[in-house]
């Protein structure tokens, strides 16, 4: 409970900080030192293809051999709708062994790609838990979130019906996309869609912040007292 509050506080600080910096830079009419950074976190069970998707997106590379990930970090510049932004991808471990450290990672995420394998019903079931954990940590129903059904190239081995996936996406009110890290089908789409959501979400937030400065100030004072 407390941690959630503190985090909220801290994120507010951060945004404020950034805003002032942005403002300062804008005022000095200098080009931004760093493009906007969007933090994407890959979640999902082990072996569904999180790392494969990431590497395909980052390096156009399909890795055949499976090596369980602990926590990988990638960051590169992309052009999103004509604007240069940076995408930071945190590729997390799917294995339950690392479940305890997930919370920490999730906190820093701005958008989530919740991946499962359409050939593995268990991984589809697990998306439920991930969703819950993310919502708990972020405490935000509208956090940018995409449900991704990977391994669409293995259509003949499909064991999760498309309807069930769509139904769940509908339930969560998130987009559902099927990808293939192997054929690079929809890979760019999921990342760019997610980034667009993050961007729109940020602009919403900043408008809200700008629109209600007082509330922010009050909060800030409160924090200082603490």
């Amino acid at each position: 409970m407390f941690s959630a509050i503190t985090y909220e506080l801290s994120s507010k600080f951060l945004e404020e900080h950034k805003c002032t910096r942005l403002l300062g830079s804008a005022m000095s009419k200098k080009p931004a030192a760093q493009p906007t950074l969007h933090k994407v976190i890959m979640v999902g069970s082990g072996g569904v293809g999180k790392s494969a998707l990431t590497l395909q997106f980052m390096y156009d590379e399909f890795v055949e051999d499976y090596e369980p990930t602990k926590a990988d970090s990638y960051r590169k510049k992309v052009v999103l709708d004509g604007e240069e932004v940076q995408i930071d991808i945190l590729d997390t471990a799917g294995q339950e062994d690392y479940a305890a450290i997930r919370d920490n990672y999730f906190r820093s995420g701005e958008g989530f790609l919740c991946v499962f394998s359409i050939t593995e019903p268990e991984s589809f079931d697990a998306t439920q838990e991930f969703r819950e954990q993310i919502l708990r940590v972020k405490n935000d129903e509208n956090i940018p979130f995409l449900l991704v059904g990977n391994k669409s190239d293995l259509g003949d081995k499909r064991r999760v019906p498309l309807d069930a996936c769509r139904e769940r996406a509908q339930l969560w009110q998130v987009p559902y996309v099927e990808t293939s890290a192997k054929t690079r089908d929809n890979v760019d789409k999921v990342f760019f869609d997610l980034m667009r959501e993050i961007r729109s979400r940020k602009s919403d937030d900043s408008r809200a912040t700008n629109g209600d400065v007082k509330r922010t100030k009050r909060r800030k004072i409160k924090c200082n007292i603490l």
Partner: protein, 883 residues
């Protein structure tokens, strides 16, 4: 200069030192060598970096702590940048924490008295909020703290302490109620410190008083002490301490020294057990050498060289020296063994391998080869000497025993045969050993140094010289002259020698030796075969020559060419004997041998020459036999004897078919002459074709020239014999005619009535009968030649005599006519045309009969003569068969 490297991905993004990190990005180097630097969190990790592609490097993180960039430096792009960061942390490992590395569980060696230095840095002040942090596993991400509170610290003692950081770091999970309680606690503490000294004193009056009392007491005691021990208590204290130290030392020195000894002993023992192998090696080497387990020795030696070869320890070096010495001895020993002959190849190979594996400085295999060769040479010489000695000894014995037989068997003796077999065996066996050895040597199988190309030539030289030596010895042994032994021994020895030679040759063939030595051996065999052939032929020659003494004049058979003795048959037998021996023993060629009798080859010439010699020898034997007449015998023979003898002998000859040797020996030389002629004729007509047939049957080329020469020689001989015979037979006969014609009643009354021929006519007839009988008894159907020849001479003589004294009177004329007619009548069967002419001329020269009466008388006389001489005439005209 290409674009600088950019690291955009790291997997994993954090980990303890030594984590395998996959670094991804762009322009991370064009090749593995292009990558010249890799820093993770400031630690150089190039050493562990594994360049995979220009987008990927795999490395291990260094001993870094905290977050840091990953900086890749390439030759082509220079120093790069990183968009991601790696965080290194040190894992604290404890009893409950799983760890990939094994942790020493024993306590670290503690200092005496358990003094443990307390690092001031390790001191962490207790929680100011007085809250337990247990179960606070969820850590707040450090990087976020850094982001939230730049230039601040979460440490209580730091100047830039940020309470927010501290709280987030330590109490991010603490509930709000607990925090409030902590706040209260902290406030109370602060309050407590604020209240001042007075209140503090008031609150603790009793304790303060107590402290004062104590201080006074302490002071008093100190002063007492000073009084007692003087101003400087330290020296005495020091002395006491030193005393106690010495005492303690003395107390413990013994124990300590004992412990030290024990330690040393233990150390030595452990050293011994650890290097047991080394220490026991000299003994085990000795043992193994005794057991001949050289492989073990070599293995051990190699092992010990690997393990302790570079040791600096004196003791080890000493032992190594000892071992080296033993190995040197062993090498020497092996070398000697390898060189000691005889030895089989396997063993020798084993020694060679051992020597090579012991790094012996010589070329072991080559030495083995040369040794073997020397041994072979020596062996051959030894064999030769041994057998020579043996032979001499035997010869000595023999000459002592039987001086007459001192000749010995020469090249055919058993000793020589033995020598030949031994030498062949030795050559075959040793080359069998030497050649494979050499082949393996040159094939590099003996693991030696690659062979000098010169050595190939050397080896060839060696083998050739060995074979040459062998050939010289065998030649000396087998091909040198010597009296021929009996046929059977001869054949047996020849075959035995040939067999041993061939066996050797066979085995050399199997070895695939170069052609040069092989041809040498083959040459020996060939020469030996030729030698054998020559020997057989010479033997036949000798035997044929010896026929002179063998002639018994015993008539063996009446052929159509007259009566013959054993001679032609013996000739045939001897020749066929020799030929069959040759055929059996030497004609057949072994594998890869030259055929003996090739057209135009030396052996064929020899064969032809010898055949001719043998046949000519036979001819000369016949000649000798025929024409060798004791002059004595002949000279003593008076005319009458000469004339009488044939009758007697003829009678004997008639019965001679079954006659004894004594009888035969008594033959007159005229008879011998005739027999020889018959033999010659038989030999010419029958034996020679048979010999030719024999040559054919043995598949030898027919010696046409020899046969032809012999044929000519034989016909010459025949004619010369015939001449001789005539000379000796006809001359006396003719010589008797004139005296007996004029004997007594030569000068008869011209008118006297002639009622009979003069006795000389009867004499002539009788003589002719004698000759006819003799010739016929010997020559049979062929006799007419001799008889008619004699008749011719007789007729010639009579004609001459009648012509020289033409009878003037009637009576002598009548008588002469009568005589001529009678003679003509008697010899009618044997008259040649010439003789006929002579007689006709004689009759014509005599005046013809004038009266009928005379004619009638003549007829009567002739009829009378016919009647009277019926038996004589018949005997003159018949021959053996009709009788």
């Amino acid at each position: 200069m290409g674009p600088p490297p950019v690291v955009t991905g790291i997997s994993p993004k954090e980990g303890p030192p030594g984590t395998r990190v996959t670094i991804r990005g762009e322009f991370l180097g064009t090749t593995a060598t292009d990558l010249i630097g890799l820093k993770i969190c400031g630690c150089e990790c190039l050493l562990s970096a594994e360049w995979k592609s220009k987008n990927k490097i795999v490395a291990r993180s260094g001993p870094c702590k905290g977050r840091g960039d990953i900086i890749v430096t390439t030759k082509s792009g220079g120093e790069g940048t990183s968009t991601v960061q790696f965080r290194g942390y040190h894992e604290s490992i404890g009893p409950v924490k799983e760890s990939a590395v094994w942790v020493e569980e024993a306590a670290p060696p503690s200092l005496p008295w358990g003094r443990r230095p307390m690092s001031p840095t390790a001191y962490t002040p207790p929680d100011p909020l007085g809250l337990s942090t247990e179960g606070d596993d969820c850590k707040f991400p450090e990087e976020e703290l850094h982001e939230l509170f730049p230039d601040s610290s979460g440490k209580l003692c730091d100047e830039n302490f940020q309470p927010g950081w501290y709280l987030l770091e330590h109490h991010s999970n603490t509930s709000f109620e607990d925090l409030k309680a902590g706040m209260v606690f902290l406030q109370r503490k602060v309050e407590g410190q604020k209240e001042g000294q007075l209140s503090f004193l008031k609150a603790n009056t009793g304790a303060v008083m107590d402290q004062l009392d104590r201080l006074v007491l302490l002071k008093n005691m100190y002063e007492d002490d000073q009084r007692k021990n003087g101003k400087e208590p330290l020296p005495s204290l020091q002395a006491a301490i030193e005393e106690s130290i010495t005492l303690a030392d003395s107390l413990f020195s013994e124990i300590l020294s004992r412990k030290e000894n024990a330690d040393k002993t233990r150390e030595a023992l452990s050293l011994l057990t650890r290097h047991k192998f080394l220490f026991q090696l000299p003994a085990s080497i000795d043992k193994n050498i005794r057991k001949k387990e050289y492989d073990l020795v070599v293995n051990d030696y190699t092992r010990v060289k690997n393990l302790f070869g570079n040791t600096d320890v004196k003791l080890f070096q000493k032992i190594l020296d000892e071992i080296d010495k033993k190995i040197e001895d062993l090498k020497e020993n092996l070398h000697t063994r390898m060189k000691t002959m005889p030895i089989n190849v396997q063993e020798q190979t084993k020694y060679i391998r051992l020597l090579i594996s012991l790094n012996w400085e010589g070329d072991a295999a080559w030495i083995a080869i040369t040794t073997r060769k020397d041994y072979l040479m020596n062996l051959l010489i030894k064999v030769k000497d041994h057998f020579k000695q043996k032979e001499e000894q035997e010869l000595g014995d023999k000459s002592r025993r039987k001086a007459k037989e001192g000749e010995g068997e020469g090249s055919w003796s058993a000793v020589r045969a033995g020598a030949c077999a031994a030498a062949s065996g030795a050559l075959a066996a040793e080359l069998h050993a030497l050649w494979p050895l050499a082949r393996r040597y040159f094939a590099g199988e003996l693991a030696g140094a690659p062979a000098d190309p010169q050595r190939h030539a050397d080896l060839k030289e060696m083998i050739t010289s060995a074979v040459q030596l062998f050939s010289t010895h065998v030649r000396a042994c087998v091909l040198s002259g010597g009296a021929a032994a009996g046929a059977d021994t001869l054949r047996a020895r020849l075959l035995a020698n040939l067999r041993s030679l061939r066996e050797a040759y066979e085995s050399l063939l199997k070895l695939d030796l170069p052609s040069q030595p092989l041809s040498v051996v083959e040459k020996i065999i060939f020469d030996y075969r030729v030698h054998g052939m020559t020997v057989f032929l010479q033997r036949a020659h000798k035997r044929v020559k010896g026929l002179v003494d063998k002639e018994t004049w015993k008539i063996q058979e009446f052929s159509e060419y007259g009566a013959i003795t054993d001679l032609p048959h013996l000739l045939e037998t001897y020749l066929i004997d020799a030929l069959s021996s040759i055929h059996k023993c030497v004609f057949t060629s072994g594998r890869r041998e030259t055929a003996l009798l090739i057209e135009g080859s030396e052996p064929l010439n020899i064969l032809q020459k010898h055949t001719q010699q043998i046949l000519l020898a036979f001819v000369s034997v016949l000649q000798e036999l025929a024409l060798q007449h004791d002059d004595q015998d002949f000279n003593n023979t008076s005319l009458s004897v000469a004339l009488d003898q044939p009758l007697v002998a003829g009678g004997a000859g008639g019965a001679g078919g079954a006659g004894g040797a004594g009888e035969a020996r008594a033959r007159s030389w005229q008879q011998r002459l005739l027999i020889a002629a018959a033999n010659a004729a038989y030999a010419r007509r029958v034996t020679l074709p048979r010999v030719a047939a024999a040559f054919d049957s043995f598949e030898f080329p027919t010696p046409v020239l020899a046969l032809q020469t012999t044929k000519d020689a034989l016909s010459n001989l025949e004619s010369s014999i015939a001449e001789t015979y005539l000379e000796h037979k006809g001359d006396p006969l003719v010589g008797t005619i004139e005296p007996s014609m004029y004997m007594g009643r030569h000068k008869i009354d011209p008118d006297a009535i002639v009622d009979d021929a003069r006795p000389y006519v009867y004499e002539i007839i009788n003589n002719l009968i004698a000759v006819h009988a003799e010739v016929d008894s010997i020559c049979g159907a062929a006799c007419s030649r001799y008889v008619s020849d004699i008749c011719e001479t007789v007729c010639e003589e009579v004609s001459r005599l009648v012509a020289s004294a033409p009878p003037p009177a009637r009576a002598p004329a009548f008588r002469a006519r009568l005589e001529a007619t009678l003679l003509r009548l008697a010899t009618a069967a044997h008259l040649t045309r010439k003789a006929e002419n002579y007689l006709a001329e004689t009759i014509a020269s005599i005046p013809p009969l004038e009266t009928e009466e005379e004619k009638k008388r003549m007829d009567t006389l002739i009829q009378d003569f016919k009647k009277r001489m019926e038996l004589q005439l018949a005997s003159l005209n018949c021959n053996m068969e009709t009788v």
